[in-house]
Symmetry: C2
DNA sequence: GCCGATTTGTCCGTATGTATC
DNA sequence: CGATACATACGGACAAATCGG
């Protein structure tokens, strides 16, 4: 529920573009016209347009207008975008999701683990390992480390459903920033044992650190995807020199 | 050379964070203090901070301040971020780059190719295929399609050095928006024939469409990376509900 | 628990610069 | 050249969240 004005304008324009009201390669109404349409200041319009540009929906042309560069694409893959939980992605792709918890332990961060994950040395962590299945096939290996003091009361039963629902729903914690690295790695013996890799000997690996609303890292995750069900989208905007 | 004020403030703050003047988990000076430090309006400061947040350098905490969440990491891999050419990336990673042009032809976009690449049907395209080598190892297979009418005068010799230098330098065209999809694919016979894949049977594939300053797509690229030399970084900021 | 000071979030109106047509 | 349109910047106002007394 967007309460901010620029957000609701952003969503309205986004929907109109997706619906084809503003077509590919056409120009949006000028910023001055939009200020009248939405009865707001030009500043607010510009924030909405800025959001659309980040999404790769439009591109501003100095002195000419704002061009629509949105093209609908067929999304039949397990596309990742923004911050989204496994359950949310599965639902968006209309797939049956299930989870098997392989490990649920408490460990302490030593110096090596601290360097790797970014957690302070000595912090107590939940160490969770799960296999994610879509439509019955084991496709993703999730390795999660949570700071116990920031995510108290986590149980194996919660891990089997959705940890993020617990964190955002029950604990009322907000997830804000998420830093991720994507790489391709050789399958480990564990990957081969638990996942349906088929003829692939590699996986798409997403390593991420997640920060809560206090700006404190509470999670380190490694998500190892069977290649068929991995796709990441991104839009980059080049800075001027 | 940033002429805009908010950009130079952005770069200054970014450098101070990287230099450790503002340390991990500390708070920046308040926006009001920064307006005095840089003698500018609060609006301008906020734009600079917004840029740092997008980079994953800081996170704003309502009512409290702006927390630094930048942590230096060892970048010994071929990291991709923003829009960057092969030569630029190689230079940043202190590696010797060389290129072998496998193909340089003109083709016409039929209906199938148009759907795949986003080019209009009937447009004449340069079809270029190149192998990229770093420190003598063949690691990347680049497949580029350029609209001939938008990138005139392209030659095989230019393809052997840097097409982007030609586009931005000689033609004076500005690259603005770039949409990319990352996937993992099985190696083709061509990949195996020309690249040093080692024991991998997959590659990291980046498929992208690039738009110029007119908002017109002039390029479709597929970049197929040997896994050891591929790493993509990203920061996501969760929208509020 | 309340109040006031501080700090970030949103929004407005205006002015000026720059690019396009 | 003038009109239009986007880019940058300023200053002010009020809301919302946090923190200390």
């Amino acid at each position: 529920m967007p309460k901010a004005k620029f957000e609701s304008i952003f969503h309205d324009l986004k929907q109109r573009i997706e619906a084809g009201q503003y077509t590919f390669q056409s120009l949006l109404p000028s910023e001055n016209q939009l200020t009248e349409l939405y009865s707001c200041s030009r500043n607010t319009i510009r924030r909405a347009i800025g959001g659309l540009a980040e999404l790769g929906y439009v591109q501003s042309l100095h002195g000419r207008g704002v061009r629509v560069i949105y093209q609908p694409i067929a999304k039949n893959e397990f596309t990742i975008g923004g911050i989204e939980s496994f359950k949310e992605s599965a639902a968006r792709n209309h797939m049956k999701a299930s989870t098997v918890v392989l490990r649920f332990e408490e460990i302490e961060a030593d110096e090596r683990l601290s360097r790797k994950t970014g957690f302070p040395i000595g912090s107590t962590l939940y160490d969770i390992r799960r296999v994610r299945c879509l439509d019955g096939k084991a496709l993703i290996m999730d390795i999660n480390l949570f700071r116990k003091d920031l995510v108290p009361g986590l149980t194996k039963a919660i891990a089997a459903t959705s940890i993020y629902e617990y964190i955002e729903g029950t604990l009322g914690m907000t997830i804000v920033t998420s830093k991720r690295r994507m790489t391709v790695e050789r399958a480990t013996r564990e990957d081969e044992a638990f996942l349906a890799l088929g003829e692939y000997n590699c996986l798409a690996v997403i390593t991420g650190q997640t920060y809560n609303a206090d700006g404190v890292q509470f999670e380190y995750t490694q998500s190892r995807h069977q290649p068929d069900y991995f796709c990441f989208e991104d839009t980059a905007i080049r800075k001027k020199k």
